[in-house]
Amino acid sequence: MAQRTPLYAEHVALDAKLVDFAGWDMPIDYGSQITEHKAVRDNAGMFDVSHMAVVDIHGAQARAFLRRLLANDIAKADEIGKAIYTCLLNTRGGVIDDLIVYHLADDHYRAVINAATTEKDLAWLTSQARDYDVTVEHRTDLATIAVQGPRARELAGQILDPKLAEQALKIKPFRAVVDGDISVGRTGYTGEDGFEIVLPGEDAPQFWRDLHAAGVAPVGLGARDTLRLEAGLNLYGQDMDEDCTPLESGLGWTVAFKPTDRDFIGRESLEHLREQGVAQKLVGLVLEGRGVMRTGAVVRAGGSQDDDPANAEGAVTSGSFAPTLGRSIALARVPSDWGDSVEINIRNKWQPARVVGYPFVRNGESRIDP
């Protein structure tokens, strides 16, 4: 049987459409994905992301361990309360997972990792931790609720304990505050402002109901996917995996090559690749006409006369309809030397698409020319 989060009964009570997601029974929507998507862009929405694993790393050598383990440099978060987004790499530079790591207290860091990769991540962390004085603890007792949207912080602030709320409302993006087993990070996966709140599983249902009563809309994983795609945020397993590096996945900015003497796992492979030249890149696409670019669709260079989809050198890693833009957008992996015009194979027809910078949407506003 699939695993259930502490909020499962809430989803059932809200008449959610439940699907299996990485072995968890999760809400895909509560009736309308587009309505939920817009609630986050216009007001505030909440997501049960308790299927993602919370992993606490404690110990005198926690910082040294994470500087070796992560492609981004945890030294950027030496100040307590700071967080970094980073990839976890294998020795070939392939991406084992992407994660946010918060510095919560002296010698205490908290990583939030993907549901589908939890077991392999924990095995990797545990094996790499052997040479360090650290403990790696999977906090299965905790739940995570993301509250996102222009009014998310204000509304969540009404529900949090007043003292914690006062602190939480003061923090800058990519920072966190902590009070016992509750941590509040000003982070998210939607391109909107908001919080990701980790709290004891037993307290999560009441917190969820209070947020709902305050006017925060429940939002399923369907809208979470269109929101993150509009925000130009990668999804592990689609936009990157162990067979490609951050440099081929639009994530070069998350790899800290400086200082040059920090020997993180995967560094040697990435430096070698950089010298050789990276053959592929991740680009943003906007479809010129109607229709929807779907994940897996193949892409050819603009003006190509080769109609055989099997010969296409590019592919959509994440594609969908963008509710905020009213048209289809995608992330696609293509040869590094391609220009700004491509064609995508949709239902056996080649349709023109334009290469654009992403995010496609930030803070509710389109960043794409019409």
Binding site: T226, G291, V292, F321
Partner: protein, 131 residues
């Protein structure tokens, strides 16, 4: 459980057919179909005058999740299409059996209607899928 009006005819591929009795029929997708597809974002309709045999792909409805072909339930010529869906595909989600109709066919002959399912037979198809 989705609503399944008694007075309509159905296909296994989740189209509904409203036989007007004057040689024309209105076609749409069922409430069950729109619910499975999720929010529709595009509807691609045929041209008036296009001719189809039963089982031909007539239209495409595309949701946030997936694209789905719509088949001609019976042979005929397209007499009218629901142009409102061009700008408001969500009508299909809101009112699948009413304002969300897709197109009207002038039937080649009415005999093809006898191959369609009645409400109870369609109900069985839906229940089969849900279990």
């Amino acid at each position: 459980m989705s609503d399944i009006p008694k007075e309509l005819l159905y296909t296994k591929t989740h189209e509904w057919v409203d036989n007007s009795g004057d040689g024309t029929a209105t076609v749409g997708v069922t409430d069950h179909a729109q619910s499975s597809l999720g929010d529709l974002v595009f509807v691609e309709l045929p041209e008036v005058g296009d001719k189809f045999s039963a089982g031909d792909v007539v239209a495409v409805v595309e949701s946030v999740k997936a694209a789905s072909d719509i088949y001609a339930p019976v042979a005929g010529e397209v007499a009218e299409v629901n142009e409102e869906l061009e700008d408001a595909p969500e009508r299909v989600n809101e009112d699948a059996f009413g304002q969300g109709w897709l197109f009207k066919l002038t039937l080649d002959d009415e005999s093809g209607l006898s191959d369609l399912l009645d409400a109870s037979a369609y109900q069985a198809v839906v229940e089969d899928e849900e279990h």
